[in-house]
């Protein structure tokens, strides 16, 4: 495996994301796999942010801690990230960006701003110069990046300025290339892979699933989902609406779903907290809905731009009273896409709310994936066919059935009227207060839980050969776990992985079976209390002992996790 880790540091407003994106996508177009994370403070200008890419000729979707190349767009980035460089790594910096203009071989001075100015750009074009310099340093085919810039800024003046700045950086780096640095990135082959974030995958999944309405209230890190969809209204024939608050957001989506339209909302934990009453309403009214919770560190406002997996227990139990729900926790962009389809199908088939748990790490990270396979996308519904409904003598919205699922119709689908209700009600949807109806209808609704569980494929499990250790996780850490296990196994330390995606209703039997004779089990979670570990203990009786928990708002790094598991690094 040939790989390179590049970190671009700078202040908010310096265009880290577009630089990082360009860099990554150029390598992807050249046949490489790129995984990238974004690290930002909660501010619009200033502060210290970074964008970090890992480029490999093998499929990867997790990060390692230490960069081979640091591009420092400001002084703070030099101070923060120079010490992180691997030996043999290199720092690209502007004199202005640092007081230390030393002669150390790992330092490569590139006059970002000066070159930007020379090529007719402004300070913000410093990032294009820096990009060019990296490409130059790596002897990478610049035409790929040039083409990309032309596509991205099609028809805008920015094309020329950016390309000029890019070229300037490139030429400078080729000319002044430092001796010590010999790494190169070659063009492998022209491949057709997607380079996209988890949020984009989620949004695409919704479109593929025939979602036609999304309402949301802005909240990091979820806003990128409605942002994407709002920009595809015409193309994707979908309506998006920014609501006045999260309560309105979820209730609008509820209203549209009731009207027969697949609908969704997305938010973060704090916004989800405001949707809890409506979650319970979805349970009572049996209106399907998909809610995406993009987790960030809590409690309360917490660290608004950072990552955490701490809403698991919350979403499993949120809402007063008892009702069925599904919780999915995709492990990467690909799973995010297919899970959204599955979420809409499950919501629709079982007439329940489905919560998809993402987090800042999954939402904001860039993945390299094969184009999504639309032949795998099915459309499963409990909506009655209109002709069937028209032929029916009568219609009961909440008909008691073996499965607990009643035939669904929407208003004005036929002459049959449709009653939807938040009270306890009879089969037709009239409020009811007597004990017998209550028991019947409550049982009907709760019966769905076991039916849903039966469709749960169970946790994913991977092992090769005899394994002395199993690492277990859920949601966005999937790729970290897999690569960690892979690395350990390569070192002869065979490690199995168990990963939970469809986590609720908890796949009790499958989990028990998988874990029952595992001895050395390590649960890895991005939270402080070990929620999955507790869930496993609660539902399988399996009380594994080791937990590696990270709750500083930052994602796990594969190399660090390997060391932690080997016991060499304190978590």
């Amino acid at each position: 495996m040939n790989e390179l880790n590049i970190k671009i540091g700078g202040a908010a407003g310096q265009g880290l994301q577009s630089a990082g994106f360009l860099l990554g996508k150029s390598f992807v177009r050249a046949g490489h796999f790129v995984f990238a994370i974004q690290d930002a403070m909660s501010r619009i200008r200033g502060g210290h942010n970074f964008f970090q890419l890992r480029v490999s000729d093998q499929p990867i979707a997790a990060m390692t801690a230490r960069p081979d190349i640091v591009i420092a767009l400001d002084r703070e980035s030099v101070e923060e990230h120079e010490p992180e460089l691997v030996s043999g790594g290199i720092l690209l910096f502007d004199a202005e960006a640092s007081r230390r203009t030393g002669e150390a071989t790992h330092r490569f001075y590139v006059p970002f701003k000066e070159l930007a100015a020379e090529s007719g750009g402004r300070a913000v074009h410093a990032n294009s110069v820096a990009l060019g310099a990296v490409f130059g340093l790596l002897d990478f085919d610049l035409n790929i990046a040039r083409k990309l810039i032309r596509e991205l800024f099609a028809g805008q003046d920015a094309v020329q300025t950016n390309i000029k700045a890019l070229d300037a950086g490139y030429n400078y780096a080729r000319d002044k290339r430092p001796n010590g640095f010999s790494r190169r990135i070659a063009v492998i082959e022209a491949t057709r892979r997607m380079f996209l974030t988890g949020s984009e995958a989620i949004a695409l999944g919704a479109i593929a699933a025939n979602c036609r309405f999304m309402s949301a209230y802005p909240m990091s890190p979820s806003t990128s989902i409605i942002t994407y969809l709002a920009n595809q209204e015409a193309q994707a024939d979908i309506v998006t609406e920014q609501a006045e608050d999260e309560i309105a957001a979820v209730n609008m989506a509820f209203g549209a779903s009731l009207a027969g339209v697949r609908s969704m909302t997305a938010t973060s934990g704090g916004g989800l907290a405001l949707m809890v009453e409506t979650l319970s309403l979805l349970g009572a009214s049996e209106v399907p809905l998909v809610i995406v919770d993009c987790q960030r560190p809590g409690p309360a406002t917490g660290l608004p731009t950072r990552t955490e997996q701490s809403d698991l227990f919350f979403v499993i139990h949120a809402g007063h009273g008892e009702f069925a729900r599904v919780v999915l926790a995709p492990g990467n962009a690909e799973q995010a896409f297919y899970d959204m389809v599955r979420a809409f199908n499950l919501a629709d088939r079982f007439q329940v709310p489905v919560v998809v748990l993402s987090d800042q790490y999954l939402c904001d990270s860039y993945f390299t994936v094969d184009p999504f396979d639309l032949s795998k996308v099915a459309y499963e519904t409990s909506l009655l066919a209109t002709d069937q409904l028209e032929r029916a003598e009568s219609y009961l919205r909440y008909q008691d059935t073996d499965t607990g699922v009643s035939p669904r119709a929407y208003p004005n689908q036929s002459d049959h009227i449709v009653m939807t209700d938040s009270h306890e009600h009879d089969e037709s949807g009239f409020m009811a207060d007597d004990a017998a109806t209550r028991v019947k209808m409550h049982q009907k609704r709760l019966r769905k839980i076991e039916r849903i569980r039966a469709t749960n494929p169970g946790p994913e499990s991977f092992s090769q050969g005899e394994c002395k250790r199993t690492i277990v996780g859920w949601g966005s850490t999937r790729e970290i776990l897999f690569e960690t296990a892979h690395r350990l196994s390569l070192e002869g330390d065979n490690t199995a992985v168990v990963h939970f995606d469809e986590i609720w209703p908890f796949p009790q039997q499958a989990a028990k079976l998988l874990l029952k004779d595992k001895t050395n089990t390590v649960v890895v979670e991005n939270n402080a209390t070990g929620q999955l570990a507790k869930l496993i203990a609660a539902y399988t009786g399996y009380n594994e002992t080791k937990r590696i928990l990270r709750y500083d708002g930052r994602p796990f790094m594969v190399d660090e996790l390997v060391e932690q598991i080997k016991g060499n690094l304190r978590p």
Binding site: R193, F372, H416, M419, M431
Partner: protein, 287 residues
């Protein structure tokens, strides 16, 4: 349940003498007069005595959460623009718990009609003050009397630029029926506040109390309902006189739906299942 071709009334859980009966009758008669079939109509309530109305008339109905009728109505209308959506809220439901939605639903100007049954009290929860209760009104939870200024829903609506702002009275069905029809006909958000005596829980603002004070905007003030300032001033009147009729009407504002190009192609719910090409195209953009 019932076949969606004619309206049936159902047994209610309201108290004898409640103003809600007249409102229910007026809604039924209005819809019938307008030849709206029950299947085309979606009646939405939050939670409260007023909000039970949808259960009492055989049309499509939703009884949702307290305060949340308006966002649900908005979503339902977006989902299926072929529906005539009418919401029924209590004063607590709409101006209290749902106050934020009230503001923003008006701003959106989506084509729904909202009846706020204003009995100046929380009926279903057995008589606490509502946002429109008179200052000093005493209840079990306000034994020293209400200490906040009552709000005027119509005045707020005028301030927010609502294109149809009216007030009716449960004691005047003829006028109420005409207001409901005009409200439904108005393209965009229509607010009809209905003065609804609650003999069980509000012994202060009784039928007689209202009757004495109610004045028709037209006959009393020769009110020009295109004059927003006059509408504002009269919407604030309360006490000696209580104006009823149309405070403000303007057909100028474009509806929310009309601003969404894709809604011109008919109801969203009727869109064919054709996602593959769309998604493929979007996937392409990521390559």
């Amino acid at each position: 349940m019932t076949n969606g071709n004619e309206y049936e009334k159902r047994t209610t859980a309201w108290c004898p003498g409640c103003g809600n009966f007249a409102i229910l009758d007026s809604v039924k008669e209005s819809l019938e007069a307008m030849n709206k079939k029950p299947r085309e109509v979606l009646l939405i309530g939050g939670i409260g005595q007023a909000s039970k109305l949808p259960q009492y008339l055989s049309a499509n109905s939703l009884c949702t959460l307290h305060g949340r009728a308006l966002p649900a109505a908005t979503g339902a209308k977006i989902g299926n623009t072929s529906l005539t959506v009418v919401a029924f809220c209590g004063d607590g439901d709409c101006y209290g718990e749902g106050g934020n939605h009230f503001i923003h639903a008006i701003r959106r100007n989506i084509d729904i009609t909202v009846l706020v049954h204003n009995n100046q009290v929380y009926g279903l929860t057995q008589g606490q003050a509502s946002p429109s209760s008179d200052m000093g009104f005493t209840t079990k939870v306000q034994p020293q009397g209400v200490r906040s200024t009552p709000l005027s829903g119509p005045a707020l609506a005028v301030a927010l630029g609502c294109g149809f702002v009216a007030r009716g009275f449960a004691g005047n069905k003829a006028q109420l029926i005409s207001l409901i029809q005009e409200g439904i006909r108005h393209r965009g958000f229509s607010l009809i506040e209905v003065i609804q005596p609650c003999p069980s829980m509000n012994r202060h603002n009784t039928f007689g109390w209202y009757k004495e004070r109610i004045r028709d905007l037209q006959s009393e003030w020769k009110h020009d309902s295109s004059n927003r300032t006059a509408a504002f001033e009269r919407a604030l009147l309360w006490g000696e006189t209580i104006p009823v009729g149309i405070f403000y009407r303007s057909e100028e504002g474009r509806t929310f739906e009309s601003r969404i190009p894709i809604l011109n192609n008919g109801p969203l719910v009727k869109r064919p299942l054709r996602r593959r090409e769309v998604t493929e195209k979007l996937i392409e953009a990521f390559i």
